[in-house]
Structures are given as structure tokens and as C-alpha cells.
Amino acid sequence: MTAVRDSLAAPARERRKRPSRLTRTDKLVLVLMCGIPTILLIAFVWFPALASIGLSFTTWDGIGGLGTIKWVGFQNYHQIFTIYPSFGPALRHNVIWLAFLAAVPTTFGIFLAVLLDRQIRFTRVYQSTLYLPVMLSLALVGFIAQLFFSQDQGLVNGLVGRSGEAPDILGDPRLNLWAVLIAASWRHVGYIMVLYLAGLKSVDPSLRDAAAIDGASEWQTFRRVIFPVMKPINIIVVVVTVIESLRGSFDIVYVINGGKNGLELLNVLVYDNIVGEASRIGYGSALGTILLVISLGFIISFLVISFRREQRP
């Protein structure tokens, strides 16, 4: 989850907190209040994240005790990059997924946000409708995709291929990724739209008025005035798109065919390596680490945007 925020219209906090005298009990209470959730977070999120990096340099079947973990250096990475047959396709599909999401639904969501930001009637109705798919889980989006694309009972084949053998859209590795991307886009558009709309609402209206007085067209106003001041939101939209495509893509693909045959993704490979009798913990961790490295840059840029303001006195 992420958070876009008051980066634009941030009302600066004028007041600095004054030092306060706290009793010993107060201090203890506060330490517990902050400490317990922090321990939970570290134990279940950050420790596994770091352990993922550590275990990625080892081999372990997960059955024997911790003593059976063997250090193998970069062997897992070497194997993943050279001989793991699913890795190449998974990486390619992830890149396509990200590029498609960024190019089509993200752009379209921004476009809709700009349209809806103008004071038009029924804007709430449009927003509610377009946001509706975001309420559905990605797994359900996968089920709904099946209603459209399945071979014998799908709507698309019902409309198009009435004669001859119907194409198996979800079973064809050349087609299925695109079908799934359409389904994912259906949900992604509303999400981006709402994020962007919230950002647009906080743009200083006098900027728009000034541009209008200077005779700028609507496109010019957006391109030259609004878009540049929306930079923090733009970056957040990019971060959301990246994280969504690295994370949420699993659910849809898993529901449709378990992430095989044209739908391999990095996050599915992680899953494949940990389930089953003898799991390959080292392999799964190495794949997880690769995902971490990809997402880290975006997470950091998100943090920088969100907290830059805080560092100022």
C-alpha cells in the first residue's frame, strides 16, 4: 500500500514540538506503545527481507534443520541467470507488464482524472463507476477475465469465433499475457485516476487562471503548468504502478493458470520454489532478492518524496 499525500498542498507545520517532561511510567508506556508494533514489523517484515538476501547465497531444502544450510556464494544467481528456463520469460513478462501498465492504463487514468477535475456534472458518479473495479480483489479480476476469455464459455469467443475451432486465448502463450493485461488494466485505471484526482485538487487554482489569461489551451495548461507542479504525484503514480506490477500480478496469473505457459512472472517463480515437499529455499530467496533490488529504487524515491518535507525545520 502506498500513500500519496499532501506533498503538494502541504500546510507546513509551523510549530516545533517543545521538549516535555515525562514521568518514568510515561516513558515506559510510550516505549511499549512504539516498541511492540516495531518488533512485530521487524520480526515479520524486515527480518524476512534481510534473511531473503542472506539465504539467497545458500542452498537449503527446508527439510533439515538450520544446520543443513550450505553457503554457495553466487551459485543460485548464476544458475538463475544461465540455466533456469523460466527466468528469461518471467523477466520479459514482468517488463512487458510494467511497460504496458505504465503506457496504457496509467496514462488513461491520468487522462480521466484531468477530465473529471474540470467542474463537470455527475463527476462523482463517473468516479464511483471507474473506481468500482478497484474494490474487487485481483484474484476476482482473474475470475472475471475467465468469463471473457475462456475457450468454450468465454464471451470473446462467443462474439468473434462462431465458426470453426474457437481460439484458446488463455491457453495460447502468444495471447494470454495480453488478455490478462487487459483485465489488470481494467482495475488499474480507476486506482490511478483517484490518486491523480486527489493530486489535481490540490493544485493552486491561480496557476490555472494565470495560464487561461495568457491564452493557453487546455492541453498547454496541463502540459506546461499542471504536469510540472504535479511532479511528486507523478512519481508516486510511477511507484504505485511499479509496485503493483511486481506484486499484484501474481494473483490474477495464479488464478488463471498457476503462472505457466506464457504467464510466468518473477513473483510466481518465488512461489514455485517454496511450495512442495522439498522447497528450494536458496533459489526462492535469490528470486525474492532480485525482486527486492528492482523495487528498492522505487521505494526509496517514494520515501524521499514523502519525507523530504519532514527534514526541514
Binding site: 500513500a3 508494533p37 527480518f47 463537470i120 511507484v239
Partner: protein, 304 residues
């Protein structure tokens, strides 16, 4: 992922002068938006339509046809054969405690870091926020092993470990969702005037009393908004329960559907019905609490 947002100032925009050209432009915009809205609504409406048609009807006439009869037969079948009420209950057992603990613990941390100045405030806030942005698959491999290693007494978990238990799923939801809620709550609490705490301190109120009797009652708006958002995210979770819950019959409904698919949902009509049953709680929340939603998404800096 989700969103949080910018301060909304609806009244601040200067009134738009309506010129004939603009009005004609607006008509085109409306036409466009209506078409897009219909396209967006179509998959849900089509699912509803399919779910109401008996399989025999679609088998005979195809899915692209006018229904000869409509009934709730598919819903009845999905409901009883696949025992969907049981999975609803599982979802409730996971979602409700997870939301309560997430909000409670998040408000603790937010209170600590927004109302007192400590050196660790910013690093702590970043730790929480960043944790929420990690793809789940980054941490799942060690987490899965960790869950197998952590013992639980038999009365808490039949498996004897955190793995395959409701406690485990609730714990990871809370740990993972904390980041977002801490982020929102602390932003909100910062906007509550510091004088309030000072006055309370002069009156001798302890830190706990300040939290419980002064700050928390003022945080109803973000709490309500976060509760609705967290409800959809936790209810809609697919991944944690899929990996960390071995027994299919303990899984919440969102994760359980994938397993039930081949077993009970043998045709698209049933899949459509089951999907809509699974979607129902989030759709109800969305329609009933829409204001909370918009509030949640535009929360952040403004107070309410």
C-alpha cells in the same frame, strides 16, 4: 497498494465561466465519460447476467444470447455445494481481528512519533512506510520457514505452528498493513494542536490518558477511513493465505475460490455467481461507506 492523498479544497477553485464553446466541449466530454463508464461497468454487469442464467440455457444458446430464463440457481449451488458461508466465516475471523489490531497498534506508534519529539521518529516512520511497499514475494520465502518454526499451543493452532493458523495470517496482515496506517495516522495526529497535549500535561494527565482520552477521540475520521480501506485490502488478500495456510478449508473466501474452482465451479455461470458472492462484502462497503472511502483517499494533510 493504496493511496493516500492530498488535501482537498473543493471550494477553492474559481468559478468557471461558461461559454458556448465550453458547453459544447462539455457535452463531448460527457459522451466520452458515459461510454467509458459503460465499458467499465460492463464486466460486472456481464458477470451478474451470466450468474443469473442456468447452465442449460447458456449451453443451448451460447453465452452471447438473450436469456430465456433467469434464476438464483447458480447462487444456491455455489452457496451450498462449495459451502461458501464457511469461507465467509473464515474471512471474518481473519479480517476483523486484523483490522482492530492494525488500527490499534498503528495508532500507538503514530501517537508516539507525532506527539513527542524523539530522535528516532523519522527513521521509525520510514521503516514502517517502506515495509508496506515491499512486494510480498520478497519476504515470503523466509517468512514461510519462520512460520513453520514458531510454535503455538495446540488450542491456538491445530498444526502447532504459526503456519496454517488464523493467528499467523492475522499477524502478517497486521505487520504488513501497519506501515500504511502509521503513515496516515501520524500525519493526522500532527495536525492536532500541540497546546492540547500541553494543557493535558499541566493537568497531570499521563501519556496513556492523553492517547486514549484526548487524541484518539479526535481521530475518528482517519480511523473510519482506514478501517474501510483496510477492510478491502485484508479481505481481498489472496497471497498470504494461499502460501501460509495449507488447509484449504481454513482459507478466507478470496484465497479459497482458487482451490474450489476445479472442484465445484465447473462452468462459467457458477464461477460468476461465486465471484459475485465473494465480491459482495467489499461492494456493500463501497456503496454504503463511499464517503469514508473518498475521505480515506484524500486524507493526509487535512483534518477530515
Amino acid at each position: 497498494m493504496s493511496a493516500l492523498a492530498t488535501s482537498e479544497k473543493p471550494a477553492a477553485r474559481a468559478p468557471v465561466r461558461v461559454r458556448p464553446r465550453a458547453r459544447r466541449g462539455n457535452r463531448r466530454v460527457h459522451a466520452f465519460l458515459i461510454v467509458v463508464s459503460l465499458v467499465w461497468l460492463f464486466p460486472v454487469l456481464y458477470s451478474l447476467y451470466t450468474s443469473l442464467r442456468p447452465y442449460s440455457d447458456t449451453a443451448e444458446h451460447g453465452y452471447v444470447s438473450l436469456a430465456h430464463s433467469l434464476s438464483f440457481e447458480n447462487y444456491k449451488n455455489a452457496w451450498t455445494q462449495a459451502d461458501l458461508p464457511h469461507y465467509y466465516l473464515n474471512s471474518a475471523l481473519v479480517t476483523i481481528p486484523a483490522i482492530v489490531f492494525t488500527l490499534l497498534l498503528a495508532s500507538f506508534v503514530a501517537f508516539g512519533i507525532s506527539r513527542y519529539s524523539w530522535k528516532l521518529n523519522l527513521p521509525l516512520l520510514m521503516l514502517f512506510t517502506a515495509g508496506n511497499l515491499l512486494p510480498q514475494q520478497v519476504i515470503i520465502t523466509p517468512l514461510y520457514r519462520l512460520f513453520l518454526e514458531i510454535p503455538l499451543p495446540a488450542f491456538m493452532s491445530e498444526s502447532g505452528t504459526l503456519y496454517d493458523s488464523f493467528w499467523g495470517i492475522i499477524a502478517i496482515h497486521v505487520a504488513f498493513q501497519l506501515g500504511f496506517c502509521v503513515f496516515v495516522m501520524s500525519n493526522y495526529m500532527k495536525t492536532i494542536p500541540q497546546e492540547l497535549s500541553e494543557a493535558a500535561m499541566v493537568d497531570g494527565a499521563s501519556a496513556w490518558r492523553q492517547y486514549w482520552q484526548i487524541i484518539m477521540p479526535l481521530c475518528r475520521t482517519p480511523l473510519a477511513a482506514l478501517a474501510t480501506l483496510e477492510f478491502t485490502w485484508i479481505y481481498n488478500d489472496f497471497f498470504w493465505a494461499l502460501v501460509l495456510m495449507q488447509s484449504g478449508d481454513k482459507r478466507p473466501i478470496t484465497s479459497a475460490l482458487a482451490g474450489l474452482q476445479g472442484q465445484f465451479f465447473t462452468n462459467n455461470n457458477l464461477i460468476a455467481a461465486a465471484s459475485l458472492v465473494a465480491a459482495l462484502p467489499t461492494l456493500i462497503v463501497y456503496f454504503v461507506l463511499q464517503r469514508q472511502f473518498i475521505g480515506g483517499l484524500t486524507l493526509g494533510s487535512t483534518k477530515g
